[in-house]
Symmetry: C2
Subunit: 265 residues, 2 copies
DNA sequence: CGAATAGTGTCTCTTAGACAATATATA
DNA sequence: TATATATTGTCTAAGAGACACTATTCG
């Protein structure tokens, strides 16, 4: 038997798009859309679809995200291959589960354009990851709850090691108003005097991503972790990996926090 | 376009079978076989093959291991999906890489029966995992070196957390002669007196796996880790997860070590 | 000033790592 | 007894967690 003659399964991808919704108490969100057409019509589900000839799986994920939810994803990560021949009643389908962490800002446009796309809350109840779907169903179809669980676990591992590796911190949003305040004297000795354009770049994040206080960053990490984190311990964890700016937040009660920018690349 | 009409890739599995070869200085080994037939004939490679209709991927892995190397594997674990449409010059093939940790004892029969199956040494040189193949080739065909690297990393993560989770410790082999010595008085107070059959079960491993000293266990972990481990630190790591028997090793110079058995289930 | 938030010093507990002292076998 | 190996005690350094004290802003 030559290798071309082997039976071939259909190969599909499913993707759990996770984000942090920037409210005053940020929360972990999952992108879902309302199914139409073939199977489970009307039910909320995570996007998925079949690989096309010559396509890479990550590209399939990005295409499926555009088609089903009008969302431009970023960098899908493989999670697991679901290979039970009977998992899909429509035939022999092997599904490669993916996750993609996408800043809320990139999802908002699609959310306002379309009514069949939502971001739902992901919560832990007695040790399990649960999704708060609209409507009467409490679970995603097929084994898709399992994919979400894997995606959340993967994201938590990533965030336990590095400060906001996926850039889910977004200032300039309801509840998280962070205006800035330039110091009369720079904090460090002999530091460079920034020109206006540089200040803008730092503050607006044109070069280095948005600036944020450690409290804002911690709230994002708390949303991902699903539990409160220690203030001082968190600071000592992440501060070595960040760039401290000469600016502070403004506009709220209490002592203003120093603004940081990410220190990757 | 209906879903059945999508183009379908061939789906294959590849498997890196890792083992610890029990010599006086145990070492980490990889199962390879000599390719025949279609592509890269004569080159040493890790086993792989195509999924058959209705088959689960893990079963494909076990079947392929039997067919190509006469080896009965155990519990394959998924590592990664290699999906570059041009990775195989023969056509569109998606490969799901697996690893399987198998005790050396289970591999020996196949090794003596067949000349085209070998266990080769896996070593770290300047931060990279390297395989010492027989013959003139220094690398595995296609992207299979990458699979071995992933497999070794995965195994190291597992072994960093638990004592010999895959049961690669095998006593009763050249260089690791571990006979036993029953104590005149049990070490613990009020401990149960073991009958002969129980003693045999403990020592021969009929129930709980083979008994071993902490030094033997540490040498296995050192083979996996690819570096020496601290004696006392290692003991404190693993001892809480083991069952101490009332027996000690025998037959070598120096103080005999206490025999332990695994404490899972 | 009081309330609220940010920043930091310090204490404890745990653990890895290192070293050494003690224990028990063989030759 | 000399040697080799196993076992265990202890010291140190690093890090997580907890707590509290100080700092800086707004109202």
């Amino acid at each position: 038997m030559k290798w071309e003659e082997f039976a071939r399964p259909s190969v599909a991808v499913d993707v759990a798009v996770l984000t942090v919704v920037p409210e005053s108490q940020p929360w972990l969100g999952l992108l879902v859309y309302r199914r139409a057409g073939d199977a489970h019509p009307g039910r909320w589900d995570i996007p998925g679809g079949f690989v096309q000839a010559g396509e890479r799986l990550a590209d399939t994920v990005l295409r499926v995200l555009r088609e089903k939810s009008d969302v431009r994803g970023l960098a899908p990560t493989q999670l697991h291959v679901f290979d039970d021949p009977k998992r899909d009643e429509r035939g022999w389908v092997i599904a490669v589960a993916h996750m993609d962490a996408v800043p809320h800002q990139r999802l908002q446009a699609a959310m306002t354009r379309r009514d069949d796309v939502r971001i739902v809350r992901v919560q832990d109840s007695d040790g399990r990851v649960r999704v708060q779907l609209p409507g009467r169903f409490r679970r995603l179809p097929w084994d898709h709850d399992e994919i979400v669980t894997m995606a959340v676990e993967r994201l938590r591992e990533r965030y336990a090691r590095h400060p906001d590796p996926d850039g889910l911190t977004s200032s300039s949003d309801e509840g998280m108003t962070t205006t800035t305040h330039a110091p009369t004297v720079p904090t460090w000795d002999g530091g460079p005097v920034l020109g206006d354009s540089q200040v803008h770049a730092l503050v607006a994040g044109a070069e280095t991503g948005p600036a944020f206080t450690l409290t804002e960053l911690r709230r994002v990490h708390e949303a991902v972790a699903g539990r409160p984190l220690q203030r001082d311990t968190f600071r000592r964890m992440v501060e070595p990996h960040l760039h401290r700016t000469a600016f502070t937040s403004e506009g709220r009660v209490g002592r203003p926090g120093v603004l940081y920018v990410r220190d990757d690349r």
